[in-house]
Symmetry: C2
Amino acid sequence: MSSSVRLTQIASYIPEGRVDTRDRGKRFDYGDDFLEGKLGTTSLAAKAPDEQASDLCVKAARALEGQGGMIEGVGVVIVCTQTPDHHGIPHTSAVVHAKLGLPDNCACFDISLGCSGYVYGLSVAISFMQAHGIQRGLFFTSDPYSVIIDPADQATSLLFGDAATVSLLEAGQGGWEVRDVLFGTQGKGGAAINNREGKLAMNGRDVFNFAMLTVPKQISALLARQELTLDAVDRVVLHQGSRYIVDKLRERLKLPEEKVPVHLSGIGNTVSSAIPLTLEAVLKSHQDQRILISGFGVGLSYATALLERCS
Amino acid sequence: MSSSVRLTQIASYIPEGRVDTRDRGKRFDYGDDFLEGKLGTTSLAAKAPDEQASDLCVKAARALEGQGGMIEGVGVVIVCTQTPDHHGIPHTSAVVHAKLGLPDNCACFDISLGCSGYVYGLSVAISFMQAHGIQRGLFFTSDPYSVIIDPADQATSLLFGDAATVSLLEAGQGGWEVRDVLFGTQGKGGAAINNREGKLAMNGRDVFNFAMLTVPKQISALLARQELTLDAVDRVVLHQGSRYIVDKLRERLKLPEEKVPVHLSGIGNTVSSAIPLTLEAVLKSHQDQRILISGFGVGLSYATALLERCS
């Protein structure tokens, strides 16, 4: 997909609250080495009890404005979430629309996707804007999974943190374009991450095997289609499922540590916000030209995009 | 939006189960005249207890195949729902992907929208397909609201029925193109339809006033942009909120009954499926060239599209 709508800024909101997982980990005989070395964090960002998905979005939008991003004239608001306000009625994007005081001629809808949600959502948002001549849009990710985590569950209670991000999308010059993207689904494996009676259940081994089999292959296919190799890419931003999964994928891709950032410490796996949070940090600290982003998880779903800086 | 991806077929699934609202109506002193005359039906389609949103989608897909629609080579599956399987994890489109045995290279995501969902979703699906060169896609609507209806609630228990539809979208010749579309949101009015602790609550008067103020204006704006009048349109397919709201909007538009179909009898208001169910019936019985579709409700959200038959 070549595009005149570009990703021009990313902003985020990470709640101040923290869950210390060193206490929780003792229950399962997990030491700090395991938490830090395998999962990538000993604490998880946790929203306040009265905060909902829309509140996290609004705070990310305020951060965007604080760093100079314009939300005036926004023609579309898309929220990627699987833990919406009000059980999804009304959609969280409409709630955000109200809280930001946006005008009537703004299209709003939510997308339901998990860890692949940023890559998919970015593509949905850009294609929607291009087709309808929308000059400025906001694409939010907000998945406060803490509301569906059972603190006694070994597979999930040490891993997921709350956060929201907003990506400003604008037609015109500069920014980052989505040069190409590939999508994938293995619905038959979907039970590996599911919501059972309101609580998240995950088979980490199945998710790991799925990622190892699909993600490197999809990255290779995308690069082949663009007649590029990994050498031509400055950074590979993977979904931050855990430190272990990022490390193992990096090894499979034969890439050095600095090229595949781990961005979990003090936050946790923030689902659809994990890639944009990591990307935000990369954009602040590096002058990259080409970045691969790859998300994988709930669905099971996966997607990889090549971002290229525009002059 | 001019498009080379067209709507080529619509199929649907209406569960066999029925709720007789003449009994329910007595509780509120509503007679058959009110039910038939104002709401438009004395019975509501009701899914079986073990059916979920994905099951309704699969049955709609089987109906599509039964009428000659191809699902082979489908590159995207989008489900519009606010009552997903598994509280939304995994997304219902991934569950449908598994049940239909679709290949890995198929993009799947859900959209959360209510009564405006068909108009929005059609535009999201077509723009996504065009941007990514996808030749064939399935856009489902499936909102079995019966799972969130309190049978004792006067405002909702006589109105909402369960159904699913699938729209086959294909690149190429023939079919219907979305010639133009307008979107709107009034998030500040969103409380008029909301999910309170798992049950739907609705202020019908607020929704009615919202529709009367926004829908005729949006239809006029779209026609003006296309330099057309209502005379040039064969049919106006409105969201089937109730017989009363369709009739009142029709009167406001100064249109005869045959031009604005009411399609509620024996089914009820099927949320995002109401427009495609009505459109399916219109396409079977008429040889129209131009059809306006307009959805309004949950959000509060509204959208109007002009469909034009392609040769």
